[in-house]
């Protein structure tokens, strides 16, 4: 009802574009309420509600099958919701008996596999998006050239997609999305088909160009690093449900569920039994000794209950000064600070990462991955590890298994 009222109000204000079901491109705000998509018995998206403020960069993060692509396609108008509503720029575009087709939503989209028309040159692909602007041909050509220049492809405007590399093709797709300056940009895992080098370059370009344009963006990925690097806000999806919508910092520091914690990166997990519970700290008796962590909100933990200690990569480091002398993390000063615990382990693998080495260390009750050090510590070496309790989380045992 509130959505209908909003539309009616816009009509009274004489905002015909909104009333016509066409979103206002200059004020692209996305509001989804109770959005659900069913494919037969499968619920791909389950009552998702979210809002994206104008100019905001939202990243939808989730494993394969979590419903993020379906959610994006519904916002684009490609798929129709089974239930719920979508408002774009204040206009109702999806709701009971209402569906605005994609071409009338004033948005643009970058696809995972580029979706460039192979029979059109790079310039023609970009110009295509300008047809709805009803510009003159010469003006269109100039705008397309400018857009290609912005993505560094001005010299390749007459090439066909088949004559461009994967990275270049995705740049053309990016230029096509940006050229008409839509209020809303959608990105469907645009970097997942590119190699590591090109991925990083294009990620930086996407961030810069989108912000420069001031557009609202919704970007989906299964890569937590990509999400943290790009997002103003991250929405984490698990089995069709939006389990957390917050800033990257909040997501990392205070994940709402064990699933969110696991999906956004853990060094490892150690099982144990709850020893002591206070308001914001839980002590767990583990095979590695007594370890402390922060409880998840909404998960009840009682003394004696089985629990799982979830350890962030940033919460673990080698305890031997020599081993960490040139590592990325602050070196261990030789003593344990408040909130830190030392445990013993055995190195079982070391991988060179350029800046140093990442190690897999076996500790009583589990394994910890990605423990950094400047020098290689060979497999079989005994090591002392320091765990920081503020970077550890405690969840009831068996809770929040990932759907990945």
């Amino acid at each position: 009802m509130t959505h209908i009222s909003a539309v009616e109000r816009s009509v009274e204000a004489g905002d015909l574009r909104k009333e016509d079901g066409v979103p206002d491109g200059t004020k692209a705000q996305v509001a989804a309420a109770g959005l659900t998509k069913r494919f037969g018995p499968v619920v791909a998206v389950d009552e998702v509600s979210l809002t994206v403020a104008p100019g905001e960069f939202l990243v939808l993060l989730g494993p394969s099958g979590s419903g993020k692509s379906t959610l994006l396609r519904m916002i684009a108008g490609i798929d129709r919701p089974s239930a719920g509503t979508i408002h774009l720029g204040g206009a109702l575009v999806d709701g009971p008996g209402v569906h605005t087709p994609p071409e009338r939503r004033e948005l643009a989209m970058v696809f995972q596999d580029y979706a460039l028309w192979p029979h059109m040159t790079a310039a023609q692909n970009v110009q295509f998006a300008l047809r709805r602007r009803r510009m003159e041909r010469r003006e269109r050509e100039r705008a397309a050239r400018d857009a290609l220049e912005r993505v560094g492809l001005s010299s390749k405007e007459s090439r066909y997609p088949g004559e461009l590399s994967g990275g270049e093709q995705q740049r053309v797709a990016l230029a096509r999305a940006l050229v008409a300056q839509p209020g809303l940009l959608l990105f469907d895992e645009p970097l997942s088909n590119l190699d590591a080098d090109r991925r990083e370059q294009l990620r930086v370009d996407i961030a810069a160009l989108v912000r420069e344009q001031g557009a609202t963006a919704i970007y989906i990925t299964h890569d937590q690093f990509e999400a943290f690097a790009l997002a103003d806000k991250i929405g984490v999806l698990d089995r069709g449900r939006l389990v957390q919508l917050a800033t990257p910092e909040e997501i990392f520091r205070a994940p709402a569920t064990p699933f969110v914690a696991r999906f956004t990166g853990l060094a490892g997990e150690i099982p144990g039994v709850v020893e002591e519970v206070t308001k914001d700290r839980v002590t767990v008796s583990t095979p590695a000794g007594l370890l402390a962590g922060t409880p998840f909100p909404g998960f009840e933990l009682r003394r004696g209950a089985k629990a799982q200690l979830l350890i962030r990569p940033s919460a673990v480091r080698f305890g031997d000064e020599e081993q960490v002398a040139h590592a990325r993390v602050a070196p261990f000063a030789g003593s344990v600070a408040a909130g830190e615990t030392v445990i013993q382990g055995e190195v079982i693998d070391a991988a060179f990462r350029g800046w140093g080495y990442e190690h897999v260390v076996s500790v009583p009750g589990g394994r910890l991955h990605g423990v950094p050090a400047a020098r290689r510590i060979g497999p079989g070496a005994r090591a002392r590890l320091v765990l920081v309790s503020s970077g550890s989380l405690v969840a009831p045992a068996g809770s929040g298994e990932t759907s990945a």
């Binding site: 989209m109 696809f111 979706a115």
Partner: protein
């Protein structure tokens, strides 16, 4: 005014939005209405008469088995058995021969791959009755072999009998099976083969493991050729008729064309054909049930091509040459010689004459049939391609749904129903009294003839286009839509140019098929109108074989000229990108080591995808 304008816009917007919600359902409904009007209703009207002759005033019983019994008395069982045996033999031949061709094109460095594909298109364009007549003209006593003094009664007996029928139908089916097989054969090499070899498998193990992956393509080719063969009328009316070898389509034609026509018996034969293809589809489904062959379409490294030595090259050229000689060369020579040679005069210079062509040109009004058939082929060919594309898209988009599968099944079964069934069905369905009361008088009109032409060609046309439509990713459409294009513009500018070549070929095939179509033309042509094939038949019927074949040659030349002209027009007038992207796909694929089914056969490659889809059930 300000208060009214938003309200008016609101209602317009609401209408548009409600239409957007209803559109997919309406679209499917419209497709089914068209399929029903063109294919299902006429076929059912015809087939129902087998058991309920009174429905259409063909008898007094509402429900009877009399037609079944009468059909058995007229040799229905024998005719069906003959058809099935010949169909199976033709399908086996049509699957074995293309395997050799596909191995040469896809897995060796033998030259002439492009020429083989073009040659296969030529086989596809040649009507079966022409190939049959050509062979007749070679082996008959008064034919070429006779003129050369090489006539052999044994050879005549063999060709003008079950063996000849199976061979001609098999040769005619080779392109269908080839285009289903070749891409699969190309795709199962590469990494899959390397994996077997690196894990200790020898050549035999490689063959044993990879051969089952060809099963979907093999079965798909087999079923399509079987359906085409049991439903073929051209060979039934020529070789089978002169050899007195009763096959089902001829029995069906006989039941209709004799006086009084026995539509009940013809309908029983129609049921026989439907059941035969249904059983073939069932067996195909059983054999492939629960097995996934998706790996075949995956990205992989190029299959290694075997370097042929000179012996291999000679063998390859010999095999290819022999195939095209038998499939096209010999029958074309037969037809051409028959049109310029005086029978029983031997092969001397004085026996050659252009009298038949002179006579033809002297026939008053000969231009009429050619012009009429040309116009019908042009208009109906366009309609066939348009509807075929719509059906292919509907099947490609809804392949997992009941509607998509049912449509798929309907169209495969329709391939098996000969044109004569549609023609007879159209008479019953569109000459009903209640239609006349409504002022709809379709019977005896050019419109009805056109509808029947479309109905006859659209099943194979849609199957031909199914592959290309399946291959085009929906994302290209979605990309156009989200960047502001309406649905129609997204198709017109974003997708159809990519399908231009397969659409052009589908149109040319439909054009050739309609231009030379026989049974529908004969039964449904309006009074005072003579299509080309009817003119040919009437000349042949007057026992003037030479004039008949001369007319066939002229008709084929017209079709070939049209095909050539359109290919040239496409080559020079189509935008560069339309042609270039295909070439780029090939070069990129080669550079990246990808397998692309469409390298050798751009227009048909996707048929293999379709066949995999059918076979793999996924």
């Amino acid at each position: 005014m300000m208060a009214q304008a938003p309200s008016a816009i609101k209602s317009r917007s609401e209408l548009r939005q409600r239409w957007a919600v209803l559109r997919p359902t309406s679209w499917r409904l419209l497709v089914w209405v068209l399929v029903a009007v063109l294919l299902v209703i006429p076929s059912l009207c015809f087939l129902l008469q087998a058991f309920s002759p009174r429905l259409f005033g063909q008898g007094s019983a509402w429900l009877t088995l009399a037609n079944l019994s009468s059909a058995f008395h007229q040799g229905f069982a024998r005719a069906m058995l003959d058809s099935v045996v010949v169909g199976v033999a033709a399908a086996v031949l049509a699957v074995v021969l293309p395997m050799g061709l596909a191995i040469l094109v896809e897995r060796t460095d033998a030259c002439g791959g492009g020429a083989i594909v073009l040659g296969l298109w030529a086989v596809l364009l040649a009507p079966s009755y022409l190939i049959a007549v050509g062979w007749e003209e070679i082996v008959l006593r008064g034919g070429i072999l006779g003129a050369l003094g090489l006539w052999s009664p044994g050879l005549q007996h063999m060709i003008l009998g079950p063996v000849g029928v199976a061979i001609v139908l098999g040769l005619k089916g080779v392109p269908f099976a080839y285009f289903a097989l070749a891409p699969s054969l190309a795709a199962i090499g590469g990494d899959l083969e390397a994996a077997i070899r690196t894990h200790g498998g020898g050549r035999l193990a490689t063959l044993r493991i990879l051969a089952p992956l060809l099963l979907p393509a093999l079965l798909s080719g087999f079923v399509i050729v079987f359906a085409e063969s049991v439903g073929d009328f051209g060979v039934a009316a020529t070789i089978a008729a002169s050899a007195h070898f009763p096959i089902a389509t001829y029995l069906l034609y006989e039941s209709i064309s004799t006086f009084p026509a026995n539509f009940g018996v013809a309908a029983v034969v129609g049921w026989g054909l439907v059941v035969a293809v249904g059983v073939a589809l069932l067996i195909q489904g059983r054999l492939l049930r629960g097995r996934s062959f998706a790996v075949v379409t995956g990205r992989g490294r190029s299959s290694p091509r075997r370097q042929l030595g000179w012996r291999g090259r000679v063998g390859a050229a010999g095999f290819t040459g022999a195939f095209f000689l038998i499939a096209l060369g010999v029958p074309l020579v037969g037809v051409i010689f028959s049109s310029v040679l005086v029978p029983f005069e031997g092969l001397k210079l004085s026996a050659f004459t252009f009298a038949n062509y002179r006579d033809l040109l002297g026939v008053q009004g000969l231009g009429g049939p050619i012009r009429f058939s040309g116009e019908m082929a042009l208009v109906c060919g366009l309609a066939v391609v348009a509807l075929g594309a719509v059906l292919a898209r509907t099947m490609a988009a809804g392949r997992s749904g009941v509607s998509g599968r049912l449509l798929d099944l309907t169209l495969v079964v329709a391939v098996a129903l000969p044109g004569v069934v549609f023609a007879a069905g159209y008479i019953f369905a569109y000459d009903l009294p209640f239609l006349t009361h409504l002022g709809i008088a379709l019977y005896g009109t050019t419109l009805l003839l056109g509808m029947a032409y479309v109905a006859n060609s659209v099943p194979s046309s849609s199957r031909l286009l199914l592959g290309p439509f399946t291959q085009v990713q929906d994302r290209l459409l979605h990309a156009a839509r989200v960047h502001g294009a309406s649905g129609a513009r997204a198709w017109r500018q974003g997708v159809l140019p990519l399908l231009a070549r397969p659409i052009l070929w589908a149109f040319l095939l439909a054009f050739a098929g309609i231009f030379l179509e026989l049974p529908i033309s004969e039964l449904l042509a309006p009074p005072n109108v003579v299509p080309v094939s009817v003119a040919v038949l009437s000349v042949l019927g007057k026992a003037n074989i030479g004039e008949g074949t001369a007319l066939s040659v002229v008709a084929i030349l017209i079709v070939l000229a049209f095909v050539g002209a359109l290919q040239v027009v496409f080559r020079f007038l189509a935008p560069v990108g339309w042609r270039k992207w295909q070439e780029q796909r090939v070069s990129v694929a080669e550079a990246e080591g990808e397998e692309l089914a469409s390298i050798a056969a751009p227009a048909f490659a996707p048929v293999a995808e379709a066949s995999l889809r059918e076979g793999g059930g996924g």
